[in-house]
């Protein structure tokens, strides 16, 4: 059979089965869960996550299949022609109920004080099953929360052992610092040697948070520190907003997935009492100028290639732990967040005549790793940390709700000067391939002196794990690659080590889909919502009058007034950094 015939056969192979009396025809290889969904029957799940392989661990989705004495997990069981499935028999209902009761009887499920209250899958299932009493006595083994990490908190007493975090950490991110230990009722999800999260090779990506169905893993809450700063009259509180937050904050506050709410975001931040509202997209443009020149410099001077991007702090910690021998490949550019912080407490402070010590610099990020990044020694200036507090999109959402602001009816406002103007190149930093595309837009024009025929580099866009492209720079073929999700990054790092990655420039983003899928984004974040947010990011890009970083007039002014030239003395002092080897254990 030819490949085409084979594909046709696969496409046409179907199975017809009966689910609760409804006949449904689905492609072969479909699971009972998917087939039921197609038939409009929803089967409750907990350990199932649409982006992770089903493992049949929690047993909540069990169904009766005619001819099988055992109940089978709908999430794993493949359909067969003629199969008869019952998803609502007394036995199935009794089992579901018992499974949920058993989960609720273990640990601490106190909903009102839980970070996932009203966004908890266990809560939703318990509600839908109408559980009002539990015949099982609650057993709590007191286990302290692990608050050691700058980014992530673990609360083992809320864990239901579904293992979604384990799969995410291990299989998607290729990190593997979460796994089950112990057995039987004493089983728990823990870290190597049960160490504190800050003491293991965790990269703070927060994908475990997005994977968790309950409140067992969540972001370190910094809202209190920010409220305090806003309330402190001696502080000038400035805020920057990351590219990916403008396409997710609306979603966090009840608007449709992929809503673009840049102007409302600015208004909300002003409402909250921030003195100045700036845009990280501005320093994303600046990153492109510095990084683009660094790339050209490396190419022309025989520097270490391929050069790897450096704006994703989860990725940076990953390479520091797992591939320290490749650190010379990493661009020395700080991330846009940190370039912003460094400029805020020097250039901006001078410009407006305030003591940098009086500036409290907040950033709104899609990211948990940014919390850690802001605490790195390298990110401290003379007056303390360049960025004082990092809030995730979820934390900002909570603050806006706490304020009682009706986000969707807010008017649109503009960012403040001098860090308010940005280009489409800065905006696409939020999506996988975006940093590379933004860099290409500038590098092409700087290197060739010609205007780009089209600013859109489609081969580097999209959710493919590893993407490649080639750009002709006056006869020189610039080879580039993009990876998102750390397992894909691993693949490229192995290829660099083997000497089979003959690229000049590689963009790595820690999280699947890039920052729009960051660990600080609204829950749920799935491949579906990631794709929607990416679509929105490119819409932001298209809608902007300027789409190339080097055309940003505010950037030009910054160089004229302060930095003088890319890779110059001031840049090296403020915008570039260095990395360190970190141990695996």
């Amino acid at each position: 059979m030819t490949a085409v015939q084979l594909r046709q056969k696969e496409e046409t192979a179907t199975a017809t089965l009966t689910i609760d009396g409804h006949e449904v025809t689905v492609p072969e290889g479909t699971t009972v869960l998917e087939a039921a969904k197609m038939a409009g029957i929803s089967i409750p799940t907990l350990c199932h996550h649409p982006d992770l392989p089903p493992r049949g661990v929690c047993r909540l989705c069990v169904v009766e299949i005619e001819g099988s004495y055992l109940l089978q997990t709908a999430c794993t069981y493949p359909v067969r022609d003629g199969m008869k499935v019952k998803t609502n028999s007394p036995l199935v209902r009794e089992t579901r109920r018992t499974v949920v009761e058993l989960m609720l009887a273990r640990g601490n499920h106190n909903c009102p004080t839980c970070p996932r209250n009203q966004k908890c899958e266990l809560q939703r299932v318990a509600e839908s099953l109408g559980i009002r009493e539990n015949p099982f006595e609650v057993f709590r083994r007191p286990r302290p929360k692990d608050t050691s990490s700058a980014a992530i908190v673990r609360d083992p007493e809320k864990c239901i052992l579904c293992r979604r975090c384990v799969e995410m950490c291990q299989d998607v991110q290729g990190v593997g610092i979460l796994f089950p230990a112990g057995r039987g009722f004493a089983t728990e999800i823990t870290t190597p040697l049960d160490r504190a999260l800050s003491d293991v090779a965790c990269v703070n990506c927060g994908q475990c948070i997005l994977a968790c169905p309950v409140g067992a893993i969540y972001e370190k809450d910094d809202t209190g520190r920010v409220w305090d700063a806003i309330a402190d009259p001696s502080k000038v509180v400035i805020v920057q907003t990351a590219p990916a937050v403008r396409v997710s904050i609306g979603e966090e506050l009840g608007m449709p997935v992929g809503s673009i709410s840049t102007g409302k975001l600015v208004s909300a931040l002003r409402e909250m009492g921030f003195d100045k509202v700036f845009d990280t997209n501005f320093t994303a443009d600046l990153t492109i100028i510095e990084e683009g020149h660094e790339l050209l410099h490396r190419i022309r001077s025989g520097g270490t290639l391929p050069m790897l991007t450096s704006c994703s702090p989860g990725w940076i910690k990953f390479i520091e732990h797992y591939y320290p021998e490749l650190l010379d490949h990493v661009s020395t550019c700080k991330s846009p967040q940190q370039m912003f912080g460094a400029l805020a407490k020097t250039y901006y402070a001078q410009k407006v005549g305030i003591d940098p010590k009086d500036i409290f610099c907040v950033s709104i990020m899609p990211c948990t790793a940014k919390k850690f990044e802001a605490t790195r020694d390298e990110m401290y200036g003379e007056s303390g940390p360049d960025v004082d507090a990092v809030l995730t999109a979820r934390e900002l959402g909570r603050m806006i709700r706490e304020m009682g602001i009706d986000f969707s009816s807010l008017p649109e406002s503009e960012y403040d000067d001098p860090f308010g103007i940005s280009t489409g190149a800065g905006a696409i930093f939020g999506a996988t391939g975006g940093v590379l595309e933004a860099a290409l837009r500038t590098v092409y024009e700087v290197a060739t002196g010609r205007t780009l025929p089209s600013v859109d580099f489609h081969p580097v866009r999209g959710l493919e794990g590893i993407k490649e492209a080639e750009v002709d720079l006056n006869g020189m073929k610039l080879k580039v690659a993009v990876a998102h999700g750390l397992s894909n990054a691993r693949t490229l790092m192995e290829r660099i080590k083997q000497g089979t990655a003959d690229y000049h420039f590689i963009e790595i983003m820690c999280c699947p889909g890039g920052c729009i899928g960051g660990g600080g984004q609204p829950i749920p974040t799935t491949m579906e919502t990631r794709a929607e947010r990416i679509r929105a990011i490119y819409e932001v890009d298209r809608s902007l009058p300027l789409r190339k970083s080097h055309e940003n007039p505010a950037i030009k002014r910054l160089y004229m007034e302060f930095l003088k030239e890319p890779l110059g003395e001031k840049s090296h002092e403020l915008l570039h950094t260095h990395y360190r080897r970190r141990p695996l254990f």
Partner: protein, 428 residues
């Protein structure tokens, strides 16, 4: 003593105690490796499978799946390489039949593995031995070396052109690793936890490749069947459970230890003729067949034939062949509670019903034994058992409630007299 030997029929244990297990020559002199030569030199793999299928041999690890069918599924499955695994992770309390075979007649297991490998087209085998079985490990490692030197393992076995070798792997003490998929996880270097089925090992086994996994006792039956034929084998045992079964007699019985009898021998024969009856003048109360997760049978079922289907019909199982006899000096609730403590300790913790359920069963039984439980607790106990039995991920959680369910069925009174509100029930 006369009955003890007379009623036995030794196929599996044919050489145990008769030959020096450390000397391959003695095994060969007793007819060993003749079946291997016949299979590899005179038979096609399909013929081997057909013979095993015709013999009606069913897996001796507990589930009783037809061995020939298992081999056929693996032989037909696509994917290479294929593997044969011998499951020697004998963790069932009160069972040591595999140990006796491994230490008494290691070559019969190796011979069975080579024949299985030839039949399914496997190139590599693993012998997974319970970690606590130090002597078994030593004996089998020595036997493998001897078999290699003699040309029964390795490249071009007995000049047939077929190559196969065996590596030994040792468990680390988890009971669940006796479950076939957990065992494979363990061989692959991961935490011993069962995998969801389907897919089944014959399609998607070790490292995702087609794999046949057979128990030690099953493999010990292979050479005699190949040598003597399917018809010969079928003369022993029952129509649906041919052959013999090795039982480990433990508990309140005179003759404790291993016996091998034709399938279908009744519980009564085993206990009173071969086992010599109940010691100290006590009365028989309960027999648990199949290990800690087996059903608990009362005196009224003493005439049940011990074979796969007869035992299933009374909610029990043949399991590993453990036979625990309990006399009338024991409280049923206490006995069952001790089983549940075992499962609480051995549940791997992967799926909710087993992980949480084994813990809850143990607590509920403690509560009943302490006379603090009520009828409502008994109802919860019952429901939990039903749920675990039908919805646990693997055999461990599915079978763990069996002792509770069968004693609730056959010895309900013993539960009722422990209840705090028993008076209420009498009134009602």
């Amino acid at each position: 003593m006369k009955n003890y030997l007379k009623s036995q029929r030794r196929i599996v244990l044919r050489n145990c105690g008769q030959i020096d297990p450390n000397n391959i020559e003695e095994y060969i002199a007793a007819g060993g490796y003749r079946a291997l030569e016949r299979a590899l030199l005179e038979m096609e793999p399909e013929d081997v499978i057909k013979t095993i299928k015709d013999s009606g041999l069913r897996g001796r690890g507990g589930a009783g799946f037809p061995t020939g069918l298992k081999w056929e599924l693996a032989a037909k499955a696509s994917g290479h390489p294929k593997f044969v695994i011998c499951n020697a992770d004998e963790g069932e309390p009160g069972t040591f039949k595999d140990r006796l075979i491994l230490e008494g007649d290691p070559h019969c297991v190796i011979e069975g593995m080579v024949i299985a490998a030839y039949a399914v087209g496997a190139s590599k085998g693993y012998l997974y031995i319970r970690g606590e079985y130090g002597q078994s490990l030593q004996t089998i490692a020595n036997a493998i070396q001897q078999a290699r030197a003699a040309g029964f393992l390795g490249n071009d076995i007995v000049g047939s052109g077929f190559s196969f070798d065996i590596a030994v792997r040792s468990g680390a003490g988890a009971y669940v690793c006796g479950e076939e998929t957990a065992l494979m996880e363990s061989i692959e270097g991961r935490r011993g936890e069962s995998r969801v089925k389907p897919p089944y090992p014959t399609d998607h086994g070790l490292w995702g490749r087609p794999t046949v996994i057979n128990n030690v006792e099953t493999l010990a039956n292979i050479a005699p069947i190949i040598e003597n034929g399917a018809q010969w084998f079928k003369q022993f045992g029952t129509a649906t459970s041919p052959g013999t079964k090795v039982f480990t007699l433990t508990g309140d019985i005179m003759n404790r230890g291993l016996v091998e009898v034709p399938m279908g021998t009744t519980l009564r024969t085993l206990i009173y003729e071969i086992g010599g009856g109940i010691p100290r003048g006590r009365k028989f109360k309960m027999a648990q067949t199949g290990g800690s997760s087996g059903g608990c049978l009362p005196a009224s079922l003493l005439d049940v034939p011990l074979d796969f289907d007869s035992l299933r019909a009374v909610d029990s199982s043949l399991g590993s062949g453990a036979l625990l006899i309990v006399d009338d000096s024991h409280c049923i609730v206490d006995v069952v509670r001790s089983f549940m403590k075992f499962f609480e300790h051995e549940s791997c913790g992967k799926c909710t019903p087993c992980r949480e359920g084994t813990y809850r069963l143990a607590r509920l039984l403690e509560k009943i034994e302490a006379e603090e439980a009520t009828h409502a607790d008994l109802e919860v106990l019952n429901r939990l058992c039903r749920v675990m039995e039908r919805s646990s991920l693997c055999g461990l959680g599915q079978a763990a409630p069996k002792p509770v369910l069968t004693t609730l069925k056959y010895f309900k009174d013993e539960y009722l007299i422990h209840l705090r509100d028993q008076a209420a029930s009498k009134g009602a």
